[in-house]
Amino acid sequence: MSIPMTGQPVPGRDPRAGSKLKKGLKQWMAVLPFIFLGVAGTAVFVIYPMIRNIVISFQDYSIMPGANNPFVGFDNYVSAFTDPNNKVLMAIRNTFLNVAVTVPVNWLLAIVFAVLINLHFVKHKIVFRTVYYLPIITSWIVVAFLFRFLFAGGEYGLINYILYKQLGLFSEPINFLSNYWSAMVVIWLFHIWKTVGWGVVIYLAALQGISKEYYEAAAIDGANGTKQFWSITVPMLGPVTAFVLINLVNGAFNFFPQVYFITRGGPMDQTQTLPSLMYLQAFKNFNFGYASAVAVMMGIAVFALTYTQMKKFGNQRFL
């Protein structure tokens, strides 16, 4: 690809179209050294995999070298929905439960803690913020160990110790991870405990960004604290709330370490979500076609969920 730096446009063509092309090429040559690697990396490791995923989802794919990987039409999708154990349907159900339970709790805790910490008389705001943020900087694996430990079965797991031994709320110690609902509750608590700090930090930043002048003006007009909160704070937090909610929904939609490290999908694949099911099917059972079909369905679902909102918030910067 060489670009003539000087010279006339090719005769016979619209001269303006020629110079436009030349200008475009020149612009590309200037920017290419900067974006080439990034664009190439994204093309190879993000965009091509998405296409490849769709292809594999229509194949009976084998990891063995030299396998001919025949195309099987929609077989993988059909088997995902006709499987007698209903793994995929169960995973979809769990995903909706995860969103329905954790998003409201997470959001409410985040805004309440942030507003309270931000009150003018509270001292050591930074200390509180740091403590609330601690779970975020801890790795999922370690927090999972911790939760498995706290919710261990038998009477000496701390939660059992408190609820059964000390308070006598149950007639016997609970095996949290071997029953569906109790395992789900542990997964939800794990997720909420681990991520609430993110919402708190985002809301604190947003609250501190509201100019004091609004409150001073309101105070002169005789509005008290409660009035100020509802007529200044709440409306000013609108866009941030949208941002926080989108991220919370997305996070709850994509439970993966939450499930994988706590229950590994058990008992009997009942607590699986789509990502954990996909990963285990691919790399434990080597069902690549089936796993890709799950991945494609998940990709479409998440995409549909976020597309409209992300468009609105795509250009905003947040920490």
């Binding site: 994204t42 601690l134 790795s139 990963y279 995409f303």
Partner: protein, 277 residues
């Protein structure tokens, strides 16, 4: 404006309760890591009366090649982080400062990929690395970490790059410098807080990464820390004092980084008053 003391007390009680519920599990974990020879689930009474002792830390450090895995993770993370930052900065600069045909299209495509969770790409990424013959090498891992992460970091940095006033470039242009000089002498130093923030995110993301590393690295000697931790957990399932001692060692680098950089974290209004008169 004075708030009545019962309200103040109530507010403090609520946020202190919140803080306690975040802190207490950590405290319980640290205390458990001091218990000697816990082959069964330690009783809460034992945990609360334990005497601090680094015995388990010394033990796990020399056990099961733990020190080796720590080193592996350091190498993987430092290279991946440096590569991601460098590529992210370059790409962000390209998108922030240049106009070229198809830029809008390219940027929108980038944005679209951000809406699809990265985890679903793990199967094809593995197949690509396999066809390159890079399974069981850090090269394969770095390609996925860096190539797969560039969109996120470029997107994060682009906003900061765009807010750097054009006036800054004039001094370089007057000296006869070009795009690279502007990149090195203006954009990078001006965006240091943003780059530092991204560096920490990148560090934490790679340091903790489990799923891709498990798929790409099969050789036991090359495992990274998260894999080693989980294997350690499977092997000594009930020995929580060892598991937590190992976990706390694994957490230290990230925690230290956050403490060191806490003040320099990007907040809003980071570039106020850059151009004077």
């Amino acid at each position: 404006m004075k708030t009545k003391w019962p309200i103040q007390l109530l507010v403090y009680a609520i946020i202190a309760l919140g803080a306690l519920s975040f802190l207490f599990p950590f405290v319980y974990m640290i205390l458990t890591s001091f218990i000697k020879g816990a082959y069964s689930l330690p009783r809460p009474k034992e945990v609360f009366s334990v005497v601090p002792d680094l015995y388990n830390y010394k033990l796990v450090w020399s056990k099961n090649n733990f020190a080796r895995y720590f080193l592996n993770s350091s190498v993987v993370t430092l290279v991946a982080m440096t590569g991601s930052l460098f590529l992210g900065c370059l790409t962000a600069y390209g998108f922030a400062r240049f106009t070229f045909p198809g830029k809008e299209f390219l940027f929108r495509t980038f944005l679209l990929t951000m809406m699809i969770p990265g985890v679903i790409n793990i199967i094809p990424q593995f197949l690509i690395v396999k066809s390159l013959g890079l399974v069981d090498t850090y090269g394969g891992l770095w390609l996925i970490y860096i190539g797969g992460g560039v969109v996120g970091s470029a997107f994060f940095l682009r906003g900061f790059f765009q807010s750097i006033p054009k006036e800054y470039e004039e001094s370089v242009l007057i000296d006869g410098g070009g795009n690279w000089r502007i990149f090195w002498n203006i954009y990078l130093p001006q965006s240091m807080p943003a780059i530092a923030t991204l560096a920490i995110f990148s560090f934490q993301g790679t340091w903790e990464e489990y799923f891709t590393a498990l798929v790409i690295i099969k050789d036991e000697a090359m495992r990274t820390l998260p894999i080693a931790l989980l294997m350690f957990n499977d092997k000594y399932a009930t020995n929580y004092s060892w598991i937590f001692a190992a976990s706390i060692i694994a957490l230290l680098p990230t925690v230290l980084l956050y403490i060191l950089f806490q003040k320099r974290f990007v907040q809003s209004g980071f570039n106020e008053g850059g151009v004077k008169g």
